[in-house]
């Protein structure tokens, strides 16, 4: 008897969440199969790839990334350049400088920068905070206001500030709300419950369930994603059916494999190649574990991952 493959599609599916507006808007999620299991059922929306720039412009970027932005004077210039890289689906603006323990830039200064970017590009936008929960409560609320009408993804509300960020982004300005938790399926779920109880529509939440560079406690991140997808699809848990976005660049470019110069580590070979490798490996792994979008930095990584996605779809 001939072998008949059984479809492994689930009756539940991941929510489809639109980000951005106009011709360039993207849809995250929507699948009812395991990551890239297109043989079980068609996957309508391929995972998306974003490019990350920060409020410090070129200052903190690795040398190998700087060359791609040659001639850019302002962050808005960089945004335009980034939007032109091959394979980019959306733009992510990270306001690192707002951290009170770092540069402590004022909310006004950062929001002004964000507005310039909004005016400069028409790609869907992901707006990331400074990782300081208290500052983000204020900063991301203002950011939600500044991108009014753009249907941007505000990354992210956390347990400590979900009320302020959720209310501003999800209720007042109808942006997409990012929900960030620390590599634990239960904490991810709890935050989604809290946000929906606040009145945020579950269909406009995108999760960041935590991330790490490959090799740096990465198995926790991967297993959390695996389990979130299993609960969402196999058990039909509506409080976990939100698509997942994973910021990769901020993790991958901060580890020694990407940062150590060739002079310090001659046996490790070319630094740029190493950085790209870390970014590509991390991104490929989180996509295979169920991320619906990744945020990257190096144009070569972006092109590689975007090609990989196309090949697998």
């Amino acid at each position: 008897m001939a072998f008949t493959a059984k479809s492994g599609k689930f009756s539940a599916s991941i929510n489809s969440v639109e980000v951005g507006c106009g011709d360039k808007k993207i849809v995250l999620g929507g699948e009812n199969v395991l990551p890239f299991y297109t043989f079980d059922a068609p996957v309508e929306n391929a995972p998306k790839v974003g490019v990350e720039i920060t409020d410090s412009g070129l200052e903190n970027e690795p040398e190998c990334v700087k060359k791609y932005y040659e001639g850019c004077e302002t962050v808005a210039d960089m945004a335009k350049r980034a939007a032109s890289f091959e394979g980019v689906d959306f733009l992510s603006f990270r306001m690192d400088g707002g951290d009170p323990n770092g540069a402590n830039k004022s909310t006004e200064e950062l929001i002004a920068m964000l507005k310039e970017i909004v005016a400069a590009v028409d790609l869907p936008l992901v707006v990331c905070g400074c990782k300081h929960a208290e500052k983000d409560a204020e900063l991301l609320a203002k950011a939600a206001e500044a991108v009014d009408g753009k249907n941007a993804l505000i990354l992210a509300a956390k347990e400590e500030n979900y009320k302020q960020v959720g209310a501003a982004a999800g209720l007042a300005y109808k942006q997409v709300v990012g929900a960030e938790s620390a590599v634990d399926i239960n904490l991810a779920k709890q935050l989604n419950v809290l946000l929906t109880q606040l009145g945020v529509d579950g269909k406009s939440i995108v999760m960041n369930v935590g991330s790490a560079a490959a090799g740096y406690g990465f198995e926790y991140a991967v297993s959390t994603m695996d389990r979130v997808k299993a609960a969402a699809l196999a058990q039909g848990d509506v409080t976990l059916q939100m698509p997942i976005i994973t910021p990769v660049a901020s993790e991958a470019w901060g580890v020694k494999e990407a940062m150590a110069s060739e002079a310090d580590m001659p046996e490790w070979g070319d630094q740029e190649e190493r950085g790209i490798d870390m970014e590509v490996e991390t991104a490929a792994a989180v996509l295979a574990s169920g991320s619906d979008a990744v945020i990257l930095k190096h144009p070569v990584s972006i092109k590689t991952i975007s090609t990989m996605i196309k090949e697998l779809m």
Binding site: K163, N186, L187, K189, Q190, V193, L194, Q197
Partner: protein, 640 residues
């Protein structure tokens, strides 16, 4: 040297001299002034708040003290250094754990009901309500110049006659008083003896004209509190009942901290003194006075205590209990006598210890499991003891499994800023008005007693009500505002149950977000332990027919509320039964009935212990349960 004066709300000042730079908490400890410091005194818990009335202390402000409080003189004792003569007020809540030893009023039927019911239940299952202590009449012929047999030989020979046994053991305490008692009563005496299959042991001799009291004491030694009863060994009647805080508490709120403290030089002696000299002996003395008997008439004791507590009681090294692979010195021992550890009762009194079955499942649980009677029922039941360590037993007449989880001291009021034991002044039940958020509560004590703090059952009610009224979200964060809701400068919210003027102490009675968080962890530990144990045995909650809940967390738990906050599984409330202090009840059974004692040993041997830390899914279950009612709402279908 500086003069330090401790002032109290309801008792006399204590004055002591201390060196420059000494910690106020240390000075208090040395002086036996009770200031609660469950975190061990590192500024973490904020429970040791005292009010500076005069002089100056070198004391930092912490997140536990608001600006207004600091201005009003509130300081944390643990981080305050003596630099001047000072007067400090120790509020009731800070010393509440020691909260005045309390003798129960036995005229109320409630207090003795549990023991009467237990006796009936024991009789029903066919266990003989009898022990081997008895009183015999011994008549000897008086010695003469022709009959020169010494007293001891004369007496032993007479006892042989009466009992038909040929091995009679007469201890030193009896030899000492023999000559006098025999001659005062014309060699006609009563003897209190223990008769076993092998020999007869003589505890006491009295003139035949006296009616001897044969008393026994059952004690529950909890990590946080101690309670005990004196009974008549001949008919099982309860003669007196008392309770007190465990004096060891100043060395740490939980068993781990106690073990660490006992490992320091002189630590074992300090902890043994704290429980025996400071807690048990005064408690026994008070109970004997209230029962109008002499301590020397107490011939037997039975103790239900967790593994660490019975190790520290005996002065045995408890460190191996804490260290992998967690091996206690003993599960069972039957060679312990009152004089060995300095208990002020009859020196030959035998101490029965309810047997341990693991490092974290001790005699309190084996005694409790006996009382729950789950070992005698064909249907499946769960027995839960809500203490500093939550212990759970699951099974039926065919098998029993047990496990322990670290719930922390929250159920007994520890780790909660206004938490206290279930004693006078504790709010034990509470309701909120959904609109105004005004509370209605009942307080333990005489009518009119003002609230000082919350005991476990009060906290369960409080959290359930706050959740029902939409004051807190499932994470326990306060999301409504109102007259009774306050936020400190760090943004931490709290609900004020009784403002200072309504309260029976010098502080508001409040429940803070940090308290709620502690409690949610405690309830999460219990719920996840139940879930983990059931799934470990491949059982489902629907197979459970009865849940027996024990613990001294209040006179009763509102089971509906406990389910609503996700502490207990969502099964009909009729299946829940609150048993009160089963460790004490079990100790009572072991004390009064020799057959019950044997049964408890048998139960202990047949119980399998699961180490939850070895079950990979436990941590996951725990995080999922740290949410009100639970991260997985489908587990609580009855809650909207």
């Amino acid at each position: 040297m500086h003069k330090v004066t401790f002032k109290f709300e309801n008792s006399e000042d204590v004055t002591v001299f201390a060196a420059f730079g000494e910690s106020l908490l240390e000075v208090a400890r040395k002086t036996n002034v009770a200031i609660d410091a469950p975190c061990g005194g590192n500024g973490a818990c904020g429970k040791c708040k005292v009010k500076l009335m005069g002089g100056t202390l070198d004391s930092k402000k912490t997140s536990h003290i608001s600006d207004e409080e600091y201005a009003a003189g509130w300081r944390l004792a643990c981080i305050s250094k003596i630099i001047d003569d000072v007067e400090v007020l120790v509020p009731d809540i800070a010393s509440a754990y020691k909260s005045r030893m309390k003798m129960a009023d036995l005229s109320s039927a409630e207090e003795v009901k549990i023991f009467e019911e237990l006796k009936e239940q024991i009789a029903e299952v066919g266990i003989e309500l009898k022990n081997n202590l008895e009183v015999i009449d011994v008549t000897m012929s008086a010695p003469t110049l022709d009959d020169t047999m010494p007293d001891n030989e004369r007496f032993s020979w007479a006892v042989e006659e009466v009992t038909g046994m040929d091995k009679i053991r007469v201890p030193y305490s009896v030899i000492k008083k023999m000559a006098h008692v025999f001659r005062a009563s014309d060699f006609h005496v009563k003897a209190v003896i223990r008769k076993t299959g092998k020999d007869v042991f003589v505890y006491d001799v009295l003139p035949a004209s006296e009616e001897p009291v044969v008393a026994g004491i059952a004690i529950d030694i909890g990590t946080t509190s101690v309670s005990a009863i004196i009974i008549d060994m001949l008919n099982g009647a309860v003669l007196a009942k008392g309770s007190a805080g465990n004096g060891q508490i100043r060395y740490g709120a939980d068993v781990i901290n106690r073990i660490i403290e006992s490992g320091k030089p002189g630590g074992r002696e300090k902890l043994q003194d704290a429980i025996i000299k400071e807690t048990l002996n005064p408690l026994i003395l008070n109970m004997c006075a209230s029962a109008k008997i002499k301590p020397a008439q107490v011939y037997r004791l039975a103790i239900g205590a967790n593994t660490t507590m019975n190790h520290l009681l005996m002065g045995v090294d408890a460190d191996p209990v804490r260290m992998e692979p967690y091996i206690p010195t003993f599960f069972k021992t039957n060679s312990l006598f009152a004089s060995d550890i300095g208990l002020k009762v009859n020196p030959d009194a035998h101490i029965i210890l309810a047997p341990n079955i693991g490092s974290y499942v001790g005699g309190d649980i084996t005694a409790g499991a006996f009382v729950s009677m789950i070992w005698n029922k064909p249907e499946f039941s769960i027995f839960i003891d809500l203490g500093t360590n939550g212990e759970i037993v699951f099974g039926n007449s065919d098998f029993m499994m047990s496990c322990a989880c670290s719930a922390g001291p929250a159920f007994e009021g520890g780790d909660i800023s206004c938490g206290m034991r279930a004693t006078d002044g504790a709010i034990e039940a509470i309701k909120l008005d959904k609109e105004t958020l005004e509370p209605t509560y009942s307080v333990i004590g005489d009518p009119g007693t003002k609230p000082v703090g919350l005991c476990g059952s009060g906290i369960i009610d409080m959290i359930a009500e706050l959740f029902r009224c939409g004051v807190i979200n499932p994470k326990g964060q306060i999301i409504r505002e109102g007259r009774r809701i306050r936020r400190d400068e760090f943004g931490m919210g709290s609900y004020i149950i009784a403002f200072e003027e309504e309260a029976g102490s010098v502080k508001d009675v409040e429940l803070t977000e940090a308290d709620i968080d502690s409690f949610i962890r405690a309830k999460g530990a219990i719920f996840s332990a139940i879930r983990t144990m059931l799934s470990y045995c491949d059982f489902d909650i629907s197979m459970i027919e009865n849940v027996y809940v024990a613990g001294g967390i209040g006179s009763g738990i509102n089971m509906g509320n406990a389910i609503e906050i996700g502490m207990f599984p969502d099964i009909p409330v009729e299946m829940y039964h609150y048993l009160g202090n089963t460790s004490l009840a079990g100790a009572y059974a072991m004390l009064y009935s020799t057959e019950a004692e044997r049964k408890v040993y048998e139960i202990a041997q047949n119980m399998t212990y699961i180490e939850l830390s070895n079950v990979p899914t436990y941590m996951d279950e725990f995080v999922a349960a740290c949410f009100v009612p639970h991260t997985d709402k489908s587990l609580f279908p009855s809650i909207q």
